[in-house]
Subunit: 341 residues, 3 copies
């Protein structure tokens, strides 16, 4: 169902320069946009694509409006405005309420009438599934879980036990929530498993990417605040706490009992060792891990980007001989001192 440019602009309180009756039925990048596509210009890097776009309209900053060959919707933050409008133009799929014949809901569980349980879903003892929740095919909800209203589990998600989730959170395939953390005590007879008895508490408006794992706590709970965004293949250890609106890109790992503040940003394959505390508003660069408490907001880094392999080998060889270099300098200093005596 197309929406008109005028309706869109009105709904989000934006100024539209152009024909309000033009219908929009999709979204596209500037070069691929057609006459019913909504597009956007957020970064100067793409400015050169503006002049030849065929979009119905482009969301952009007022300062870029004069360069557009088509209608424009003005917004100071075109990317955020695009994100919101795209969700209206191309809404996520909707599902009829109901429980598929192949789904298994034990008698002690409760499922809201408006929820949709797809094929092969399992809901365990004493768990509850809220209103309008979507549990995609193969999703397993173990015992003692609470799934808040409007949550979506795309498919094949596993929620082990004692996991409570707020509203509107989204979990992609292969996510594992509330599995046992890594707790082992060494004894003369080998490792003894330390029972993992805590739960997992996840806030509202959280999104967790494919194949990410978030463990339950050992004694107390693992906790994710509201609005946390976690990408694919991230690993959140037991008893970790993550503050509201913190985001973590792919393959990030946070080891057990570490506390991460609010609005932190972890780039790809970054992380933190266990048992440290990281304050609010910390950014961690790609392939970098925090090894101790961070008490000052800011950006932290420690990685070497790729070099030509031969150059890198030479560089490593020099690095390995730093002690020799220091000795040589020390010797020179002594010589220099004695020569100046």
């Amino acid at each position: 169902m197309p929406i008109s440019l005028g309706e869109l602009a009105t709904q989000f309180g934006c100024e539209l320069i152009g024909d309000p009756d033009v219908p929009v039925s999709g979204v596209a990048s500037l070069p691929n946009a057609g006459p019913e596509s909504l597009s956007f210009l957020a970064s100067a890097a793409y400015k050169k694509q503006l002049s030849s776009t065929k979009a119905a309209a482009v969301i952009l900053r007022a300062s870029d409006a004069d360069d557009s060959p088509v209608a424009v919707i003005l917004h100071d933050d075109p990317y955020a405005c695009y994100a919101r409008m795209a969700a209206v133009v191309c809404p996520p799929p909707t599902y009829k309420s109901g429980v598929h014949a192949s789904a298994v809901v034990v008698s002690s569980a409760t499922v809201a009438d408006s929820a949709h349980l797809a094929a092969n879903v399992v809901v365990g003892e004493r768990s509850s599934v809220g209103k309008n929740v979507y549990l995609g095919p193969g999703t397993v909800i173990g015992p003692d879980c609470m799934i808040g209203d409007d949550c979506r589990f795309i498919a094949n998600v596993t929620v082990v036990r004692n996991v409570h989730i707020g509203a509107r959170s989204i979990f992609h395939p292969g996510v594992v929530l509330g599995a046992d953390g890594f707790g082992n005590a060494m004894t003369p007879d080998g490792w003894v498993k330390v029972p993992q008895l805590g739960g997992l508490r996840i806030g509202s408006d959280v999104e967790v990417g494919a194949n990410t794992t978030i463990d339950c706590g050992a004694l107390d709970d693992t906790v994710l605040g509201d609005g946390v965004r976690i990408d694919n293949q991230c690993m959140i250890g037991h008893n970790v706490q993550i503050g509201a609106h913190t985001a973590m890109a792919g393959q990030t790992a946070i080891a057990g009992s570490t506390i991460i503040g609010k609005r932190c940003m972890f780039a790809g394959r970054s992380g933190a060792v266990g048992h440290i505390t990281v304050c609010d508003d910390v950014t961690v660069a790609a392939v970098t891990f925090l090894s101790k408490d961070v008490t000052t907001p800011g950006t932290y880094a420690a990685s070497f980007p790729a070099d030509d392999a031969r150059s890198w080998s030479r560089q490593v060889a020099r690095f390995r001989r730093l002690d020799k270099l220091i000795e040589r300098v020390t010797k020179l200093e002594k010589g220099s001192k004695s020569s100046s005596d």
Copy 2:
């Protein structure tokens, strides 16, 4: 069902100082413990929490006993003692034997009467499932597998084919056992798949964390010894051998054909390249990978923890100019030599 302090102490041969009739119904950290909670003090870092605990009893070393405001259970290794007692106080869930109506067991497979197969479990050709095994929802056991007694597969575990597992091993959701390793031969027409025909042999008392993958061998088997503990999102390549009681924390990766000794410890995101041999009792620090044979027990490391991003940039720039620095020192040495001539 609570157990009394006296029964607990007797069962594990520990000295109890306090009322043996006090019931224990749960476990908790020192600050969160209530009057029916068992707690423990293993690390000096938590000593300050002891004086205000409300626990029923605290497991601790004799040297800490005098500082406890509540009953104590004495043990030289309080953490290991706690691990064992916690498994008694809060035992893992038990399951009635039986096969869920939705489970699919092919006729050539054998399943022990005492096993529990949950919803949507699949057991393939010629596979056998031992006594008291728990196969959680969605678990797939492929053909030619042997699952030892008392193993537990929490949910959505995939065991591909030709995987033999000892007794009492635990596999968390998303684990994949016995998938094809990465074998490809380059030809003028592109890659040709090298058939992966070996199996996977896993010992007893092994535990494998969520979304970890352990490949089958190319020709011979991949092998994990007894008591091996592997955390989430680890990657064990084809034909790897891991010695008994070795432990690997999250995101560790061992590339193909590498042989790891006994009682090794790999910290988070560590690993080893392929085709090397690592002796017993090797510890690998976080975010560190072994690149060649290790023949001496000990700790190995090679990572840079995060720095303030600006400092790090400067440091990298200096590193990149090490050759210039060496040239300058060489020039000084020549000058020094000629001046002393």
Copy 3:
């Protein structure tokens, strides 16, 4: 069903030196081969195992033929020849066509008569499954997908939506194809999800390892060319493009919108940041990430292999004091200059 050495040699146009009537029923490494095993010698490192092999025949280069105690099959590339012959001697399992009673295929989906859908498979709206496709237990194909002929999905694979796949591609358990990429716009109210509306296009003869995730595009598609080989636990972000015959070993990650050329090779735990372009024929060493465009074919590296932990600590300390060392050299240079004045 054994095949004779003569038939094998004829089928692949190889010269056989030995009795053509000897039957071959399996493959094995040189030391483990028995009288019906086919083996191979591809690397000089294994040459010493040749003299005592009991194999039916060994595939090797003509220059090694005289040293074999058994029959030989000559080929300039013994490993590739072995890969092809092994697939004949030990062919992958075959499946009868048909749809398991527990599989769920919606009415708008189409499934070829020759396809095999195992237990608990789900096929969604408007999707099509080609000839001879194998969908293993628990595999979920979402809406609007096209699965090409002869593809194999081993088990528990999730294909989210709008994923098109060519012929003969193989997907191992836990793979997630076409999940939402990580798109979030920061606003004063927290993150707003950017709808992920592109698809995923995968070529023919592709293989993807266990628990790897490949996201759909944000607007345009994510694209993998023909013959791409990806190992376990790799992470391919939204709008990435990967050229034909590129291979990536375990835990490799390619961040969003990066374009990778043809015939590239990424070693284990390597990767690339987002929004860069990498030309054809680039090799990236283990644990190395590319941070900017690569325009010259060749090998790129940047990692430090493990060192004895004490040596490493000293080395890091020296590295951290590089500025001091530079100061000392500068001071010496000044002194040297003044002393030579």
